[in-house]
């Protein structure tokens, strides 16, 4: 590992973490604004123009708040849970290829992606999301509060159930692309045939399971406010609460970015057509890569909007309905999807 390599990785890490924090902060604002528009309200508009600095005010407020730990809580795990939650969320960002190669140093090309050529790419993503449950489950257990415990239990059961369908939903994509590597999956889509057109069922399945994995409505049972007060973060305050909250939004952005990678062609700009010939730019030239990066972020944030939109439109599932949906509907559909995809590929060969 050369020095340049190390410096580049550090710079990438710095950019990614800052990007994630900024994005999460503005996603909170976007959520509040969009919710307000849906509900015929105005939304935050006091801090800065159009309330643009509201998120910073919120974070500052959380920083200066007292950190309350209940007397009966398990202090170590109470403090550990938010760290796990945010740590896992951030780690996922290392795997997502946000852009194509931007600069070349010592013959190696670097883009805004830390471990893009990992040949287990998508498996690593699944692994990280599956570990994310520890943050929520431990937060719920260590608070020593019954509502929190129920939130933690619900989230553990929910994540195990939906992880399965999520993994199976991806297999269709992997079968077509013939690789687990995220870069290869994007390359397979750059001729314009995005996998959403080949795998519409897989996309819908992945969207639903992603909603469940990120604990978003209509699957937000772990923090269902009318039932469990605050769910797993009932007993959290100050920046620990902030971290749990931040992790939730970081997970949403990560899920959206993965969906953009797997189903919406990653940094491919125009569907059905080859970008470089349409735009008259050489493949992997800097302007094209930057445009591609913009396209990637645009897709990711469009999906974030869908997440928010769904949250403010749909009621919440009940626990048994959630399990029924996961095991009796999504799992069979995803299995059939795999079989059909496999048969079609076999037939075409």
């Amino acid at each position: 590992m050369s020095l340049t390599n190390l410096i580049v990785i550090l710079v990438q890490a710095g950019i990614l973490v800052n990007m994630m924090l900024m994005a999460a902060a503005y996603m909170v604002l976007a959520e509040r604004k969009i919710a307000a528009w849906i509900q015929n309200r105005v939304g935050p508009n006091r801090v800065g123009p159009w309330g643009l600095f509201q998120s910073f005010a919120d974070v500052f407020k959380l920083y200066i708040k007292e950190d309350i730990v209940p007397a009966a809580a398990d202090y170590k795990f109470h403090a550990l849970a938010p760290v796990i939650a945010i740590g896992v969320a951030v780690t996922t960002y290392a795997i997502i290829p946000f852009s194509g190669p931007l600069i070349e140093l010592d013959g190696v090309k670097y883009g805004l992606a830390m471990a893009p050529n990992m040949n287990i790419g998508i498996l690593a993503v699944l692994a990280m999301t599956s570990v994310g449950v520890y943050g929520v489950a431990l937060a719920g257990w260590s608070s020593n509060n019954k509502y929190s415990l129920m939130g933690g239990l619900r989230s553990a059961a929910q994540m195990i159930s939906y992880e399965l369908s999520m993994g199976l939903a991806i297999i269709g994509v992997v079968l077509i692309a013939g690789s687990l590597n995220l870069i290869d999956i994007i390359q397979a889509q750059t001729d314009g045939m995005w996998f959403i057109f080949l795998q519409p069922v897989g996309f819908i399945l992945f969207l639903i399971t992603a909603l469940a994995e990120t604990n978003r409505a209509p699957f937000d049972l772990p923090e269902a406010e009318p039932e469990l007060v605050g769910g797993y973060h009932t007993e959290y305050s100050g920046m620990k609460f902030g971290l749990l909250y931040l992790a939730e939004y970081a997970n949403i952005l990560a899920s959206s970015a993965i969906m953009a990678t797997l189903f919406l062609g990653g940094w491919d700009i125009i569907p059905f057509l080859d970008d470089s010939t349409v735009l008259g730019l050489a493949p992997f030239s800097l302007p094209l890569v930057i445009l591609g990066h913009m396209a990637f972020l645009g897709k990711a944030f469009a999906l974030v909007f869908v997440f928010i939109w769904i949250r403010w439109s749909l009621p919440r599932f009940r626990y048994d309905q959630l399990m029924n949906l996961g095991w009796k509907v999504l799992l069979p559909i995803s299995l059939v999807n795999i079989i059909v995809t496999g048969l079609v590929i076999l037939f075409l060969q």
Partner: protein, 165 residues
């Protein structure tokens, strides 16, 4: 890197059996699995590493924690030591294990061993897929059938229990 992961793995394994709080114990085991993942990665076995996290840390240990939380297992009380026999036997066993391991380590070939170049690709997804679906196809299918039978059997057992109850 190996040293870091190895020490981490041993330490978390020790924590797993010494912690009295079951959740702390389980979390140490999760840490242990992560250290093993690191070890796999240093061996270029990326697929095994990812599956280790996905299955063991991500699914099985979540279930374990789920059950611990559900049953609300309390902190284990200090058990009184039951006589010297157990301790003596334990020490003897530990000594035997140490001797076995020591001989194994001392008996290894000294100096660097040159691995064949294909050993670097053993752990990749392609290599595992190739060997599972060609060389070891029959055992692989047999094992999956066996697991399926076990799954169906357990479902039937659980169902009967529900009907009786």
């Amino acid at each position: 890197m190996f040293t870091v992961f190895a020490i981490g793995a041993v330490a978390s394994a020790v924590f797993t059996i010494t912690r009295k709080n079951p959740v702390a114990s389980a979390m140490s085991l999760v840490g242990h699995f992560f250290m093993l993942t690191g070890l796999y990665l240093t061996l270029q076995a990326q697929f095994v590493a990812a599956v280790q996290v996905l299955v063991y840390a991500g699914a099985i240990m979540v279930l374990v924690i789920f059950v611990i939380m559900l049953l609300n297992v309390g902190t284990e009380q200090q058990h009184p030591q039951s006589g010297g026999l157990r301790t003596t036997l334990g020490v003897m066993m530990a000594g035997l294990l140490a001797v076995l391991m020591g001989t194994a380590i001392l008996a290894r070939p000294t100096g660097r061993v040159d691995l064949p170049p294909e050993s670097l690709t053993i752990g990749t997804t392609e290599a595992i897929g190739q060997s599972l679906f060609t060389t070891y196809l029959f055992p692989f299918e047999a094992v999956s059938l066996l697991l399926l039978a076990a799954l169906i059997g357990s479902v039937i057992l659980a169902k009967r229990h529900v009907q009786e109850g």
